[in-house]
Symmetry: C2
């Protein structure tokens, strides 16, 4: 168990996935799981699972395995999901409305408190019960309402300026849906969701599969 070492991003990206599988197991009433069984289920090697978990602590028990519920709780705590996060959405256009709709479904622990816009025709309105405020008032709102996370749903050409204002206002994290890369100060965490990049990667893989199978009748191994 390392002390305070920087965890690699590859590991962090796997944590939510571990947690999802543990959630399902718990729901099914499974009480314990070995790294080997977990490996068969989730598709990572048993070795990697143990290696990953031991970055954070020795959660298992030799000869037994891991407690499903215990491990679920540990990972939840590691991810910081044992508290509530207050969020605002910046930009109430199509993309912003999409995210508002999405977050309505979901996300215990993540609450969208308000949306902000520059467009006068939208300010004052509600979308899915969510109030839309004037972008001018964002800094004050973030400060007064203890907002943790800003969700950027504006046009790519305004994304950086919105990120700067959010950082200045004191958010601790930015969830960026604008199709551009933005810079934030070191005390602000950033997570990008580049949907079009994802779609382009899908297109690549579709064409790759086609190329590899169309030509020859040869079936690829693996």
């Amino acid at each position: 168990m390392k002390k305070n070492a920087k965890i690699s991003n590859a590991v962090i990206k796997r944590l939510p996935r571990y947690r999802r599988y543990l959630y399902e197991l718990r729901k099914k009433g499974v009480e314990k799981i070995s790294s080997k069984e977990f490996s068969n289920l989730i598709g990572y090697t048993a070795s990697q699972i143990r290696q990953d978990l031991n970055n954070f602590g020795g959660f298992g028990q030799q000869g037994y395995g891991y407690s499903v519920e215990g491990l679920y709780d540990e990972i939840s705590a590691i991810l910081g999901l044992d508290r509530e996060y207050r969020m605002v959405i910046l930009g109430a256009g199509n993309l912003g409305q999409a995210i508002i709709k999405y977050t309505k479904v979901h996300k215990t622990g993540f609450k969208v408190c308000a949306a902000f816009e520059v467009k006068p025709s939208l300010i004052g309105k509600e979308i899915d019960g969510l109030k839309i405020y004037d972008y001018e008032d964002i800094v004050e709102y973030v400060e007064n309402e203890n907002i943790d996370i800003g969700i950027i749903c504006v046009d790519e050409k305004n994304a950086q300026e919105v990120a700067d204002k959010l950082s200045f206002a004191g958010v601790k994290g930015i969830w960026n849906f604008a199709p551009t890369d933005i810079e934030v100060p070191p005390h602000v965490a950033i997570e990008n969701v580049h949907l079009s990049d994802s779609l382009h990667a899908l297109a690549y893989h579709m064409n790759d599969i086609h190329k590899r199978t169309a030509h020859t009748g040869e079936s690829e191994k693996q």
Copy 2:
């Protein structure tokens, strides 16, 4: 220039990003760029940029650099963005409606043709001008309308069965927004957008920054 080698996923994930930057450069009227200049802009090492590109071909010219427009076109072709893709959305609930809204903004080359639902109250309706059909008719529609991509926006417990039906119907790719991992046959490409995983990773990073700065006043070296 390798022949027909399997390209690593890390490389593929970078391609859309290269393309975005090249698009901006082209728009600004920049005609050529060296790997060094590109490195300063995009944040990958010059070495990595050259290494990445040379997986696909020698697009540069010694002593000169790369033609911005030329490279943009090459990468577009590599990604398969020189054609149109026809898509359908499975599930017209909140998440599906969100994606419908999102894809309206965007995406030259990616056309959403229809949505499908099981819920009788939604079938026959329109959302943002998009017709909602009965899920029963999906296979026929995919075949007749030459659909390339299915976008899964159903509940996680139905995601696998929808993926199976889409695969059977003959889609070449699946863009999965359900918060679960689905299995597809080898001739179908899959790209997952696990939004909640992304949000959880953001929470982790927020807490990590907090932990590292709150304790000691010590400023971390990179």
